[in-house]
Symmetry: C2
Subunit: 643 residues, 2 copies
């Protein structure tokens, strides 16, 4: 007998040599149906693997990341199986799972997108035929080569020991593979082939070009349907597409990658966001500075950026008086501002804010739209305070952040309190008292503010604990939006100090790093996706369009335009000789929140007819009332229109 231990700690005795499948069937029917493979002492195995010693066993389903990977890997075999049935001369090469689904590369296969449905059909047939998927071990390399002698790619892999000497067989399809795999093809119920692409054997353009087919699979049709509509939604909300359509930003090959140019519409959004932030910070007692975008290497040696962060920084520029680097962060220069003259305890907490620009040398291949860029603009600040003030300042920053999120209508976020690790002292600055104090304080604040929060031991920065805020985007992507960090290390690196209320020099200056609105690049990408380009009135690049029904209303329209402009409302006139439905469609396309229709009745009665972007219509609104309500909606940065 052997003892099997399960993840919940329970154990059970079984006869030696029992298979995973028999074990899982002894546990329960639902798990047995869902299990795609198992971990035996953390090694992934087929369910058919015989257990011959005491072991820790965990069954994997599609919901486990590892289970999903095995499921998708089995799906690539399914695809190759279907291809071999339809195109017997095609040569399967490799077919791994990827982040979204799987692919398989084939040689000697000529297919077009039009063929994909037929291939899918064949895959579904194999699924319904529900073959069992069996592992074959070859005694020798020679045996393996013999089995795959018709496919030189597989032979090359066998000789290079790349896939071991095992294969998997379903029906009469055999593929070289380490495994493990799902036990039966019938599990791969919901199948979708996504696209075709070209690829090279071993990614080398000197080799022959292969045909790559991408696909995705799920255990249930409903999951596939949900996935496809999410994809459609993501495409609809894609900030790159909307950013281009709405002329928010552009990229240009002469400027280079990761360096977005904000077009007038984007600059309006950026300025409105920054104006909002500055107003809030003014109320919270911040002062503002503007610092150069570069500094001498000596500064970044002192700050620790060059020793620890150099590979993320731009290359140096050697000038006649030294070597300069573009800054990757604003903090070092803010520390110099703090220290430029002696400070009194009366000045603390000193909250130094900046609309800062930083530069990170990301690999060009990793750059994408506004989400990953090389020049970062951000509403940044550093708060210099005493130990006693940490709690208050953290609370203030958290409240400020929550206020921002409420204003933008963000709801799906959560907090993580990232703590140090007493077991791993080398990783963190050695101030045990400060760690204990600060962690307790942050824990208390999170509780007091009733924030949904998990704790992460060993997730702190080396210089202190922090609170991270994670977002789930509307299309389900996880994003890290903001982080509020406490820093015990700056005070010694930069000799921060102040005169306390006894006139004595104290170096107990704590720094809080915070950028609640992330970088403007990332934030606006997020915002575009969040509202699908339908910005709230205060942020919309064009807020109001005045549409005349005939030329008779031109004068009225221009007078109203002048009035709205006087109030800094961003307004356009559409007095083209086009039909009203066409004008409405164009304005909807431009995502203008308020469409104002002006006909003779409106001129006579000094009214306007309002149509909102989400289709509400209201006639006979007094013009003055309209202006007043629109202004109020903008001033309050409301998410809802008054109509």
């Amino acid at each position: 007998m052997i003892t099997i231990t399960f993840p919940d700690g329970k154990t059970k005795e079984y006869a030696k040599g029992i298979t995973g499948r028999e074990v899982v069937e002894s546990i329960g029917k639902r798990l047995a149906e869902a299990a795609v493979a198992m971990l035996v002492d953390n090694t992934p195995r087929d369910l058919s693997f015989p257990l011959d010693h005491n072991a820790l066993v965990r069954f994997l389903t599609f919901d486990d990341p590892q289970g999903k990977e095995i499921f998708r890997h089995s799906s690539s075999h399914l695809l190759a199986h279907a291809i071999k049935r339809l195109y017997p001369y095609a040569k399967p090469t490799i077919g791994p799972p990827v982040e979204e689904g799987f692919y398989y590369d084939f040689d000697d296969l000529k297919v077009s997108e039009d063929d994909l449905p037929r291939i899918e059909e064949e895959m579904r047939k194999i699924v319904s035929e529900n073959y069992s998927v069996e592992r074959i071990e070859y005694r020798t390399q020679g045996d393996a080569v013999a089995a795959f002698k018709d496919n030189l790619y597989k032979v090359e892999m066998i000789q290079g020991h790349e896939e071991g000497s095992s294969a998997y067989k379903e029906g009469d399809f055999l593929d070289l593979c380490r495994g493990p795999h799902v036990p039966r093809t019938g599990m791969l119920k919901a199948v979708k082939l996504m696209k075709l692409a070209g690829a090279y054997w071993r990614g080398d353009a000197k080799n022959k070009q292969l045909t790559r087919i991408y696909g995705i699979t799920f255990p249930e049709e409903k999951q596939l349907k949900d996935y496809l509509s999410l994809l459609e939604e993501a495409e609809k909300r894609d900030h790159k597409r909307i950013g281009k359509e709405m002329e928010i930003y552009m990229l240009h090959e002469l400027v280079g990658k990761g360096l977005p140019i904000w077009l007038p519409n984007g600059e309006i959004i950026r300025r409105e966001i920054e104006k909002f932030a500055v107003e809030c910070e003014e109320k919270d007692g911040y002062v503002r500075v503007a610092t150069p975008h570069m500094a001498k290497q000596e500064l970044f040696l002192q700050s620790g950026h060059l020793p620890h962060y150099k590979e993320s920084m731009y290359p140096p520029m050697v000038m006649d008086d030294g070597t300069y680097y573009l800054k990757a962060m604003n903090c070092p220069i803010h520390h110099l501002v703090f220290n430029h003259r002696s400070r009194s305890y009366r000045e603390l907490p000193l909250r130094i804010a900046e609309y800062g620009t930083c530069y990170r040398n990301e690999l060009s291949g990793s750059l994408s739209g506004l989400l990953r860029v090389r020049m970062l603009s951000m509403n940044d600040a550093h708060i210099y305070c005493t130990k006693d003030q940490i709690a208050d300042e953290f609370k203030r920053v958290l409240n400020l952040t929550l206020n921002y999120y409420t204003t933008f209508g963000f709801k799906d976020f959560s907090f993580r309190l990232s703590l140090g690790d007493p077991e791993n002292k080398g990783k963190y600055i050695d101030e045990p008292e400060n760690w204990a104090f600060a962690e307790a304080e942050l824990r208390r604040i999170v509780k007091e503010l009733k924030l949904p929060c998990v704790e992460g031991a060993g997730e702190a920065a080396f210089y202190g604990p922090k609170i991270d805020i994670q977002f789930k985007t509307i299309i389900g992507r996880e994003e890290s939006m903001s982080t509020i960090q406490l820093d015990f290390a700056a005070k010694s690196r930069f000799s921060l100090h102040y005169a306390d209320n006894q006139g004595k020099e104290s170096s107990d200056v704590f720094v809080i790093h915070r950028a609640p609105l992330s970088t403007h690049e990332r934030f606006i990408a997020f915002l575009i996706e969040h509202c699908a380009g339908k910005f709230p009135l205060w942020l919309a690049p064009v807020q109001v369009v005045l549409m005349t029904i005939t030329d008779n209303q031109r004068e009225y329209a221009h007078a109203l335009e002048a009035e709205l402009k006087e109030h800094h409302i961003r307004v356009e006139i559409d007095d083209r000789s086009e039909s009203m439905p066409k004008k409405v469609r164009d304005s909807q396309g431009a995502k203008i929140p308020l469409m104002i229709t002006l006909g003779d009745k409106e001129v006579t009665n000094h009214t306007v007819a309002i149509r909102t972007l989400d289709g509400k219509v209201k006639f006979g609104v007094r013009k003055d009332e309209f202006v007043k309500s629109a202004l109020q909606c903008i001033a309050e940065r409301s998410l809802q229109l008054p109509w």
Copy 2:
């Protein structure tokens, strides 16, 4: 007989061998008294020089730059003469004129600042003794060495042929010198020694340290007095001193030269100026963009910056996808914005503005305060228009600029219309029709706007004519503030084009470059000097200080503070237990425009007592009236306070 030609073209016959002095005496008594030397066929000569051939002769007075240099050079001999009388063991080394006066370096001289008046006294004595200054020519180097054998520095210079083999003698003081010099020490009437400094022989720190004495001289006492009061005024208004005292900006060696850090007070001024500019530009129909601070070298090759302007640019940064440069100007990226999609004639003129940041690689030795920096921030814009629109757009920009100057209270400026040069075609873009048209248009506009204007042929940019605006600072320095440039070249370099009203592609796009507020660095330096740090209310970093007479008014003061803050007025409270005169002095030191005194009477009557920075006092102003008037003064950006 020889013929002497004078600068006015007149000629006169003289006996061969006549001296300059005799000639000038024959012309007129005033010139003879003022002449310090002469140019004979453009070579400077002593007045005692005998004229022995036909020549062009111009007499130099102190008012000529060359005359001034000779005057100051003679003054350094005067200083050395006095030193040798007082300190016979001192060894004069070299003593040149410099931009402001002259200096002389001595070895074996121990003096302190306290000795300067005594030395000045001795110099004045030599002046009153009115020695004639005589030139001595040595036949051989040996003769010259023999004459200066007691001074090894002079011997070294003789042997190095550095000062020729001539000397000048006044009384019994002899100095090795090429000359020329003033004819008599009596001309050097007004003498002032400014300061002492250390210096090394030949500027080499390995040599012995010498004592340098700086001085200045004028022909008249009044000129010296005026100069000294100007110096005093300049010192009082020095933007470096005021910038530090008022905490407007700082420099830091770890950040590097020419990279000012705007401190909170400076950032307020910068933001207010930019806000003002944005408001004005909004009314003028500008749109705003924000562009990256760097771009690929390919862009700057296309723009012509790398071929023509590379030495002013920062060094390149090589990244994984190409070579990048920090931008020296914003125009190239604005051109890309113009061209990022097809443009219609309806969009022209398109006015693209940006708060831009540019980088220029100035030599570190040339950098100074805010006046010469390496990172330039500016309210920049480029206007894209058709030929027909050039005149209107220039007029708009000129009016905008004049509006700015009026608001800031600038009066002492003048315009220059900088034209091409038909004689020098290679220097300018070859579009004769556009030159003729544009120059005539600009001339017409300048006349229409009645601007004081001179014309400068051959002063245009290579790409078109421009209007430059020159300022005279309050301390008399000439400064170039703004320039409005027309550009015919960008359209072909960047293939600028639009669809005209017939739907036909036209490439006739003219670009106007304009930055009426200069760079913010230079502009704020100028502004600080202009107002000596006493900013108008709307710009003052702190606008109002509330000073309580006793603790009884604290509540009233804090309520008023809250009210002012609600209106975004920048207010501070001074409720220290200090005397009122001390509080007033401190606020005056901080240059706060409005000092509000609050005593019991004010609390009872809901009034305030106002004291302005220039000393006006008004009691019993109703609190509401005060708030209203202050707000109006700020909103109107008035230069005058309402009280």
